[in-house]
């Protein structure tokens, strides 16, 4: 389970920080409140330390007003 998390951590890139600032410098707390998560979780996702569930990923994309692939990118050389 830890191995999977580590793998996901390294392969998934995200644009949350950039998108937040493009939307009127939205704070992590504001985004967290919109997607019903904690600020710590948003911080961990931004830092690439945690890969969110599909549900949370869709919520984040919706809250930022973009498609999910504009927020998260899967980068792997193995596939």
């Amino acid at each position: 389970m830890a191995g999977e998390a580590e793998m996901a951590e390294n392969e998934i890139r995200n644009q949350i920080r950039r998108l937040r600032f493009e939307r009127g410098e939205m704070t992590q707390q504001e985004l967290a409140d919109k997607v019903k998560a904690t600020r710590q979780t948003i911080n961990a996702i931004e830092a690439g330390k945690y890969s969110p569930s599909l549900t949370l990923a869709f919520r984040i994309a919706k809250a930022l007003g973009v498609r999910i692939e504009d927020v998260f990118q899967f980068e792997s050389e193995n596939i």
């Binding site: 389970m1 998560a37 904690t38 710590q40 830092a47």
Partner: protein, 140 residues
Amino acid sequence: MNRLQKIAWFNLIAIITGFALIVLCAVCEVPKNIMTIVLTLEAAALIAGPPIFFRKKPGQVAFDERDAMIREKSLIVGFGGAYGFLGALYVAKLFEVGFNGSVPMLTVFLAYIMSLVCFVWVKSFIVLSMYGWRGRDGGE
């Protein structure tokens, strides 16, 4: 630092303080009834402390999927640690008294209590390892 981290720190400190007091009582040859009171206070602090000192704030999202994942992993590792600890303790006792020996029921009870303390300690350790040991952002 979030609520789970604060509870984990509280548990670690309560357990370490409890052990230090027990060692102190043993060194100073404190009467057994006072030691029992210390142990009871320790158990009461571990059980009743977190809900009293770390109440949930209304209206704020304080627990999400990442917290659930960390709690689940810490529970699994905690149970594993406690199970291993209890097993090791009984095997050590088996070597001490032999297959035909006997142990007082108090020993069995204390081994169970110690494994519970081990569970809380390992669980708290894992929680803090996964979040990070300090910081307002849960280690980030």
